[in-house]
């Protein structure tokens, strides 16, 4: 599907470009803007990023595939990220992971059929003192228990 940036987003890209001495350096910001607008980074979106920044498409592809926060496929409206790294693990991170997996019937990087949820097992999110935790899109939920996490999922399901 064809992809073009909205007028507002083109202005945001211009602002990003102004931060750096090269256009290439603005690629990470621009990829975020494309992902926000499109939900994920389609081939067309990557072509458009390359065109707008006047850089090679392979540069865009290289960056998109290197960083884990760029989605290479459509993800759910609520992207659930469960941390299972050591500090979370010591305080029940894997119990949360199992509970979320069971509840959503999803595996790592799975997306629900209705597109509402996707699930990812993530590495340390920098919330070690408030473990265990999950993030829903950009928002952190900390000091969780299995019960609390199921409650959060119910709220999102009905919201």
């Amino acid at each position: 599907m064809a992809f073009t940036f909205t007028e507002e987003n083109l202005q945001r890209i211009e602002k990003a470009r102004a931060k750096y001495p090269t256009n290439l350096a603005a690629v990470m910001d621009t990829v975020y803007i494309a992902q926000e607008q499109n939900g994920w980074l389609s081939d067309e979106a990557m072509s458009e990023i390359a065109r707008v920044l006047e850089i090679d498409k392979v540069e865009v592809l290289g960056v998109v595939t290197f960083y884990t926060m760029y989605h290479k496929k459509p993800m759910g409206k609520h992207h659930i990220q469960v941390c299972t790294n050591v500090s979370c693990m010591l305080r029940g991170g894997y119990e949360l992971w199992d509970a979320v997996k069971d509840k959503l019937h999803l595996d790592n990087m799975g997306v629900s059929e209705d597109g509402k949820f996707s699930l990812e097992e993530v590495e340390c999110m920098g919330a070690c003192g408030y473990a265990p935790m999950i993030a829903v899109n950009n928002d952190y939920y900390e000091n969780l228990t299995k019960e609390k996490v199921l409650e959060i999922l119910d709220t999102l399901e009905n919201g």
């Binding site: 350096a25 926060m69 790294n85 500090s87």
Partner: protein
């Protein structure tokens, strides 16, 4: 002295620019901008301030490596990637004291002659990036940053500060990888030399400092190096943001002088271990640092030199506490999974070795391993260590090498003593008489 706060003073709403200004805010930048650049570098050097991002290198010395000539643009990059498991301190600065970070950046930029500073923050910290951007916008509006600062501070100097959002890659906390990422490339570490001060961002002289390190600078300028150097451990002075996690009653970030006793930190500050259980293992500086045995913590102090003597390192002062019921095999496998996932793939020893270590550890978890596998793990670790472009190799190797070495008794419980032959080739004399299945079932 025990309750001295430098980085996170207990002032309500300090993130608000008006509150910050009322508390001497941006006065230190004004003072610094009226001083000679070399004098500032000298003060920071004499203060003994050492980097809080892991290597504990002298900040003033690092600044002094920057060339004095102005023929090329110079840059300051602030490392707020904070991805080391067990570290969660910098986000507290973004949240509670962003203006002191900004003020520290202004002083550092002036001292090294940089006109642009980039703060690299991990993408997961989206909401904290928003907080820091708000503070930065306010600082611009009030004329503390950018062209307007010339008038505000009555000086010839001006610099701009930009935020750069990462996108989920632990390796970008490594300074040369961070620079590649800032330039819009994959986060591959660069070979050193050339060092950043010679050839950094876009081939120009660059200094990279940690968020917490820079946040100390305004107070050093205000109160003087003598004051700063008298706090905490003499060779690693100042306060440190200790992030305590795992099996403690009150986990969190605590600002205390360097050199506090590790036992005091765990038992008094963080409220001890739930259920008064014994401690089996402590990783004192984030997951890359060598783990310490719980029965050998007495007398260990939290500063770079004491921890080195104790056989570990200060790292990012992210203290992870594990009680006596912790399965260290599973912890080590989880740590190894992390480094395998985060290896950028540039160097063969790290790319392949991290995978081998993870596979071998999983084999032990499945109950299919022998003592030889423990030696194999140490061997693989030793072959990664020192053989890679960046320190991620060492970071992956150390936990394996030191945990197996220091907890050999525990790891031996999970493995067969001798080689197990496939059933059809089984030689009777090579079989164990005491079957260790009882131990394996505990995994």
């Amino acid at each position: 002295m025990d309750n001295v706060k430098i980085v996170l003073p207990e002032i309500e709403n300090l993130r608000d620019i008006d509150v910050y200004i009322k508390n001497n805010g941006y006065e230190r930048a004004k003072k610094a901008l009226g001083m000679a650049k070399d004098d500032i570098i000298d003060i920071v050097k004499k203060s003994g301030l050492r980097g809080r991002g892991g290597a504990a290198f002298s900040t003033g010395l690092k600044w002094s490596f920057m060339p004095k000539s102005d023929d090329k643009p110079k840059y300051l990059a602030i490392n707020g990637d904070e991805s080391e498991p067990g570290s969660f301190k910098d986000r507290q600065i973004f949240e509670d004291n962003p203006h002191q970070l900004i003020e520290g950046i202004l002083i550092a930029c002036y001292a090294i002659g940089a006109k642009s500073a980039y703060v690299y923050i991990r993408g997961e910290y989206h909401n904290w990036i928003v907080m820091l951007q708000k503070a930065l916008d306010d600082a611009y509006d009030r004329g503390f940053v950018g062209e307007k600062m010339k008038k505000t501070f009555a000086t010839e100097f001006a610099c701009d500060i930009y935020l750069h959002k990462g996108a989920g890659a632990y390796i970008c906390g490594e300074e040369s990888s961070l620079m590649n990422s800032l330039e819009g490339k994959r986060g591959y570490p660069r070979v050193k030399p050339p060092f950043p001060a010679q050839k950094g961002l876009w081939g120009n002289p660059t200094t990279i400092n940690n968020v917490e390190t820079i946040t100390n600078v305004p107070i050093i300028i205000e109160k003087g190096w003598e004051w700063f150097s008298s706090i905490g451990a003499p060779k690693h002075p100042g306060t440190i943001l200790y992030g305590i996690s795992g099996h403690v009653n009150k986990p969190g970030v605590y600002e205390l002088p360097s050199g506090v006793l590790l036992t005091e930190l765990i038992h008094d500050v963080a409220g001890g271990v739930p259920g008064n259980k014994k401690i089996k293992c402590v990783i004192p500086g984030g997951s890359s640092m060598p783990p310490l045995r719980g029965d050998s913590l007495e007398g260990i102090r939290m500063d770079a030199d004491s921890l080195r003597e104790a056989g570990s390192a200060i790292g990012t002062a992210g203290v992870m506490v594990m009680d006596e019921d912790t399965n260290l095999l599973k912890v080590l496998a989880r740590i190894s999974k992390f480094y395998h996932h985060e290896s950028c793939g540039q160097c063969t020893p790290c790319r392949e070795g991290t995978g081998w270590m993870l596979k071998t550890l999983n084999r032990i978890i499945e109950g299919k391993a022998t003592s030889n596998d423990l030696d194999l793990l140490i061997d693989v670790a030793k072959n990664i260590e020192g053989n890679t472009i960046c320190a991620l190799g060492d970071a992956a190797a150390w936990p394996v090498k030191f945990m197996i070495d220091r907890f050999r008794d525990e790891f031996e419980k999970y493995v067969f003593k001798e080689v197990q032959m496939p059933a059809k080739n089984k030689v009777h004399s090579m079989r164990n008489t005491a079957h260790p299945l009882a131990d394996i079932s505990r995994i």
